[in-house]
């Protein structure tokens, strides 16, 4: 058992957990943030994706102890002031989800992808970047559409702001 402190969605949090506790379990069980899912045992599905110090990581394959002292963003941390994040809004508008199980990971992956590529994303890049995220429902088509729509909107917004 160790006491672990990190920043999650802008708030400093701490909790007691085993050294072997995975970050995803710390987030779900210690913090009660159940938007981050566990979909596999093989580090392949990406439903558990969160951002650690600004980069997407698989929280099922990271120890909570490794994340101690870091800055974590989960799906719960995206919407500001009750307004959906542009990526969340784009998934809603483009029917980018069906059962919704993969969606938190898809959205966190998309936010990271758009941050790195800005408005330069094209369909082939989005599909390649989704390598680590599996969806059993949508056939990916509307997920790709949602991400491209969000990238266009966010890229445009960024240009306007600069």
């Amino acid at each position: 058992m160790a006491k672990i402190t990190m920043t999650v969605n802008g708030r400093q949090v701490s909790g007691q957990c085993d050294d072997r506790t995975l970050l995803v379990h710390f987030i779900r069980e210690n913090l009660g943030l159940t938007g981050t899912h566990v979909g596999c045992d093989t580090s392949q599905c990406g439903t558990c994706v969160v951002h650690m110090d600004g980069k997407s990581v698989k929280s099922c394959s990271t120890l909570a102890a490794q994340a101690a002292g870091s800055d974590i963003t989960t799906i719960e941390g995206l919407a500001a002031n009750g307004e959906l994040h542009p990526v969340q809004a784009a998934f809603k508008a483009n029917h980018g989800l069906q059962c919704g199980f993969c969606t938190p990971g898809m959205v966190m992956t998309a936010v990271d992808m758009i941050r790195r590529h800005g408005g330069q994303l094209d369909e082939a890049t989005v599909r390649a970047e989704l390598e680590g995220n599996i969806c059993r429902c949508t056939g990916y088509h509307n997920i790709v559409k949602s991400i491209l729509a969000a990238a266009a909107e966010m890229g445009g917004a960024r240009v306007a702001a600069e």
């Binding site: 990406g46 980069k55 698989k58 394959s61 490794q66 390598e131």
Partner: protein, 268 residues
């Protein structure tokens, strides 16, 4: 996962000391191989010594044509270094096709080569580039470092701190990725030096891990072009057979990936 004790190292010296003090300890870098293995209870280290945040083990430095990559440098950082892309785009491309973005944000070059998975990408680059593996206690030539399946020349508790190599005149890497895992079913890294020396290393195919192919090296030394490989034969007897591909199929892949790697190297 079995119980374990986590320690975070602040320096190379600290890491080695923590590891020495631990019974059945292991270094932890990106964790992208070790944590999944521990989750499956295929590894049960008593202690983990986390080296991901050791400052001397992070980052890429270039001096002339000598490249040094710290062991704790992530695949993402290797893939996105513009300095490296200018000197040796083949290794940037290799790093950008490891796993997926999330794996690349955590996984490190030191972890990959210390693990020496027979289907991992980096071992082929290290061998073909004739890289030197630097540890807390010595320097090891890549040719002596990779000794078998998941086997390296590392002693118990020895820590990889960096790798260095001279950027070659030309280099190319191509892999036939396993459609599910994206590991190399066969990957070939080719290097040509200014003096005409050629080194070719093959990953994903050898039943004893990464290896150099002398027949392909000789053919490419004589003529640096994909066509030079038309009459080269690749012996399947030392190659892997599994549910994805048998040895004969892999033997053909070695040749096809080598041709593509030369074409990619000539285009850069």
């Amino acid at each position: 996962m079995y119980e374990t004790h986590y320690h975070r190292a602040s320096s190379i010296q600290d890491a080695v000391k923590l590891r020495q003090a631990a019974g059945e300890g292991k270094y932890l870098s990106g964790g992208m191989t070790l944590i999944p293995t521990m989750k499956q209870r295929l590894a049960a280290p008593s202690d983990l010594v986390d080296v991901r945040q050791v400052p001397e083990m992070k980052g890429i430095s270039v001096s002339g044509r000598t490249v040094r990559i710290g062991a704790a440098t992530t695949h993402f950082d290797v893939a996105s270094s513009s300095e490296l892309a200018a000197l040796c785009p083949a290794i940037s491309g290799l790093a950008s096709h490891i796993g997926d973005p999330h794996v690349r944000h955590m996984g490190t070059i030191g972890g990959s080569i210390a693990n020496n998975d027979p289907a991992a990408d980096y071992p082929s680059a290290m061998l073909a580039l004739d890289a030197t593996i630097i540890t807390d206690r010595r320097e090891i030539a890549a040719g002596d470092f990779f000794t078998g399946l998941f086997e390296t020349a590392l002693e118990d508790g020895e820590l990889v701190t960096a790798v260095t190599f001279e950027a070659p005149a030309k280099a190319g890497y191509q892999k036939f990725a396993n459609p599910a895992s994206r590991y190399a079913m066969t990957g070939v890294f080719v290097v040509r030096r200014d003096n005409g020396d050629v080194r070719v290393a093959v990953t994903g195919a050898g039943s004893n891990g990464v290896f150099r192919h002398e027949g392909i090296e000789a053919a490419l030394s004589a003529q640096w072009s994909p066509d030079a490989l038309a009459n080269v034969t690749v012996d399947p007897s030392d190659l892997l057979s599994d549910i994805h591909a048998d040895a004969t199929y892999r033997a053909n892949l070695v040749k096809v990936m080598a041709k593509r790697a030369v074409a990619a190297a000539r285009a850069d």
